[in-house]
Symmetry: C2
């Protein structure tokens, strides 16, 4: 009866903390970012953060967990689709690019900071990653067998694809060509992967 006020908050304090922490992790790394660093950005004392989050580890778990879910859902949706193996592979790559671009700060954690996950989350994370890569590799193998892409070691091909997308993390951070739109960037990466840089 008393709660007639509509939900008007756009970002809870907790979400704000998680977001700002992710940004700091990109710049300094998880280990080198102290709770005091995070608190300073939020504008409170370090001890106050613990009213919104359990501990530093939880921040990492939540950020990486949400991301792993996005990738996992994305690949599962594509695998079950009825389409040519070439189209499915391309769609998977585009999905991977889009999720990376939409979660740039989080995605950076995939490079090195995942190592600081503690058990049991570390094992869970590695299992999800393995599953993702296996499903992705399946799409690569199907594309090879159908003649859509040339023959080769599927693991090397997958590794090349995922590394190519990883160019996103450098690009947006250290370069000044960030004027480019997400759509243009996606097309550029797709072209590099499938056609290479030759004329």
């Amino acid at each position: 009866m008393t709660n007639t006020k509509p939900e008007e908050q756009t970002l809870s304090k907790r979400e704000f903390i998680l977001e700002e922490a992710a940004k700091l992790f990109v710049v300094k790394g998880f280990k080198a970012t102290s709770m005091k660093d995070i608190a300073a950005v939020i504008g409170v004392e370090a001890a106050s953060l613990y009213n919104h989050i359990k501990n530093k580890q939880e921040i990492l778990v939540v950020l990486l967990g949400g991301l792993a879910d996005s990738f996992s859902i994305g690949i599962h949706e594509i695998v079950i689709k009825k389409a040519s193996s070439r189209d499915k592979l391309e769609e998977a790559i585009r999905m991977h690019i889009q999720v990376s671009l939409e979660n740039r700060n989080k995605t950076h954690l995939i490079l090195e900071d995942w190592k600081h996950l503690e058990e049991p989350e570390l094992t869970r994370y590695l299992m999800l990653r393995k599953e993702y890569q296996d499903l992705f590799k399946g799409l690569v193998i199907d594309a090879i067998n159908s003649g859509a892409i040339k023959k080769g070691n599927p693991e090397l091909i997958l590794n090349h694809i995922l590394s190519s997308v990883r160019s996103i993390y450098n690009q947006y951070l250290y370069s000044n060509t960030s004027k480019i739109s997400a759509q243009e960037y996606e097309e550029s990466i797709i072209d590099f992967i499938f056609q290479g840089i030759s004329g």
Copy 2:
């Protein structure tokens, strides 16, 4: 007159420490690796390390400095060569792959741990990196202008090339296909970059 014993040492204690530290940095990252961790691998107490190295920071400086020099020398040698722009670009990519493969532990520092360099080494490192990328980008631009590779944003192309080589760090660490020789791996990456994965 007394020093008749030949130089028989293959690896000085200092070099041993630097090498083992580099390996630990790959696994745990610079910040999460303590002097105690390094000492344990060497088989001494942490305090004893300071007889061979000045401090933890020096380890990072020496490792990254040596690597930066290797890359720098490599690109300068290629730039002054008399050859087609296509050949020079390919040679630069091969050099980058070879230096990366020969210094796998060190090269890993380029991903994230360089951030923990302190001034003035940080600025020096970033300047060397910038110079390297500018020279490399020059080769890309020449290759575009001569029609050897297709038109496109040189920064995006360079970024794609360097990211493609970065697949080395994943490959050798987490995969089980390491049976592949360095030569095969180099050819594979070159082919991916120039021709892409299409048939």
